[in-house]
């Protein structure tokens, strides 16, 4: 699975695309419906993680151990080589993300209103899904699937910026900050033992997000 870390990013993008398109194809029924899309996504995700468990239990012990570290998400031993590869991806992805940020303005209405305003909803959704798959897969390929950051960062940014929709650059910065902070804690908390960043990211970010949610409900801004 992670025989050599050099191939992991490519394998991650390929795997991500296959899984993502499978979800898309299964959820498509004369158009895309959010609920069906989410449910089928959860189903595919559970099926694939079962498959991963099979590999981990049946596979070679040493490799399985290495895979486990990668699977919790780890920045250990990451350097400019990985960062350089990600920079190329970002060079291509940032313009697409700018487009997505503008498109998001209109698809945050209900579907009928968005179509009424002249948007090609299916095309926009497919484009956004592909962008998400590529970005998530590249990040996972570089550092392993650090759970929860993608879900958490935009929500934190949204509440900090107090805007009506997810702010693009603020979200990206929040995500980076959460990961770096989590990594710092992971390395220092039980020093000299270094925890994988994935263990800490959720533990730090989730309570902060919950605090923001509770505060916004009380304050009602």
């Amino acid at each position: 699975m992670v025989g050599s870390t050099g191939e992991a990013p490519y394998a991650a993008v390929a795997g991500g695309l296959v899984a993502g398109l499978l979800v898309y194809a299964l959820a498509w029924r004369r158009g895309l419906h959010a609920q069906r899309f989410v449910l089928i996504g959860i189903g595919i995700s559970v099926a694939l993680s079962s498959l991963t468990s099979v590999f981990l239990t049946k596979g070679d012990g040493f490799q399985a151990q290495a895979a486990k570290v990668w699977m919790t998400g780890s920045l250990n031993g990451s350097g400019y080589e990985q960062a350089g590869r990600l920079a190329w991806v970002l060079l291509a992805a940032v313009p697409v993300a700018l487009w997505a940020a503008r498109a998001q303005r209109s698809i945050s209405f209900d579907g009928a209103t968005a179509v009424g305003l002249g948007l090609r909803l299916d095309r926009i959704r497919l484009g956004m899904a592909l962008l998400g798959i590529v970005l998530a897969s590249c990040a996972a390929g570089a550092a392993g699937p650090v759970d929860f950051v993608a879900l958490m960062a935009p929500q934190i940014a949204l509440r900090l910026a107090r805007s009506a929709q997810v702010p693009l650059f603020c979200s990206a910065l929040t995500g980076a900050l959460v990961v770096v902070l989590a990594d710092l804690i992971a390395r220092r908390l039980l020093a000299p033992t270094e925890l994988p960043v994935g263990v800490v990211a959720g533990t730090v970010g989730a309570p902060y997000l919950m605090w923001l949610l509770i505060r916004s409900r009380r304050g009602g801004f």
Partner: protein, 256 residues
């Protein structure tokens, strides 16, 4: 669709058959929204009126037949060009939480914007216009033709009147063509120039409300006994349903 004769109306549907999956809702329907007029579609629940409106607004592809906008088939016109001419207010629209009115209006102006020019003086006018009235993205869109799916749902009577008066003003002052689905037959009779009564996916009657709305029509379309009297304010037909249910003993007491 073969070559069609030039249309006298900006929005019309010919031989329209509409279906969800295997269930046919509307079959072989011809309808037009007369230019510069308010057309109101009425009918019982599940008669296909909202489905028809969705098809007129390109939210639903017809199985057979076509919707024509300025004589051109909707399916052949790029969606953004449709959005410059035809606005659509769905039954229960949702906007992002905490959005400002100006932001909402600017999103409504999207069909008139391009990525290199996102704000124009006309947008400015649209904003002030929408701010002084009920502000919605659909109004800011500023199209000649407006499709409204039960715009008064969930509103109290004062707001219902406000919305319908706004529709009238847009029609009279700006010459907007309106096609709306309304639940309330009396409101439909008050505000429509052209009334279309539907049942089971077909048109039962259409024309001026004064000619169309009769006790017979109400019985045929809704299966309801009623008395139709002139509206004391507008003179348009006012449908008063038959006597409410009462227990037989109570009726006997009244009779006695």
């Amino acid at each position: 669709m073969s070559a069609h004769q030039p249309s006298a109306h900006r929005l019309e549907a010919r031989g329209l058959t509409l279906a969800y999956e295997a269930r046919t809702v509307v079959e072989g329907l011809d309808i037009r929204g007369p230019d510069g007029r308010v057309t109101v579609i009425v009918g019982p629940n599940a008669c296909g009126k909202s489905t028809l409106l969705r098809a007129l607004g390109r939210l639903l592809k017809p199985v057979r037949g076509a919707v024509l906008l300025d004589g051109e088939e909707l399916a052949r016109i790029p969606t953004k060009r449709i959005a410059q001419r035809l606005g659509l207010l769905p039954q229960s629209p949702t906007a992002p939480e905490g959005i400002s009115v100006a932001d909402l209006v600017s999103r409504g102006r999207q069909p008139h914007q391009s990525w290199w020019q996102q704000w124009s003086p006309e947008d400015e006018t649209a904003v002030s216009e929408a701010l002084e009235r009920t502000s919605t993205a659909e109004l800011a869109q500023g199209t000649d033709i407006l499709l409204l799916d039960e715009p008064t749902t969930y509103l109290d009577i004062a707001h219902q009147v406000e919305v319908l008066d706004l529709v009238r003003r847009l029609n009279v002052e700006r010459g907007r063509t309106v096609v709306a689905v309304l639940h309330d037959l009396n409101q439909a009779a008050r505000y429509a120039d052209h009334l279309v009564a539907m049942r089971d996916g077909r048109v039962v009657a259409q024309g001026a409300p004064g000619e169309v709305v009769t006790a017979e029509l109400v019985r045929e379309v809704f299966g309801l006994d009623s008395v139709v009297v002139p509206d004391p304010v507008t003179g348009t037909p006012l449908v008063v349903p038959g006597a409410p249910w009462a227990s037989t003993t109570a009726t006997a007491a009244v009779d006695a």
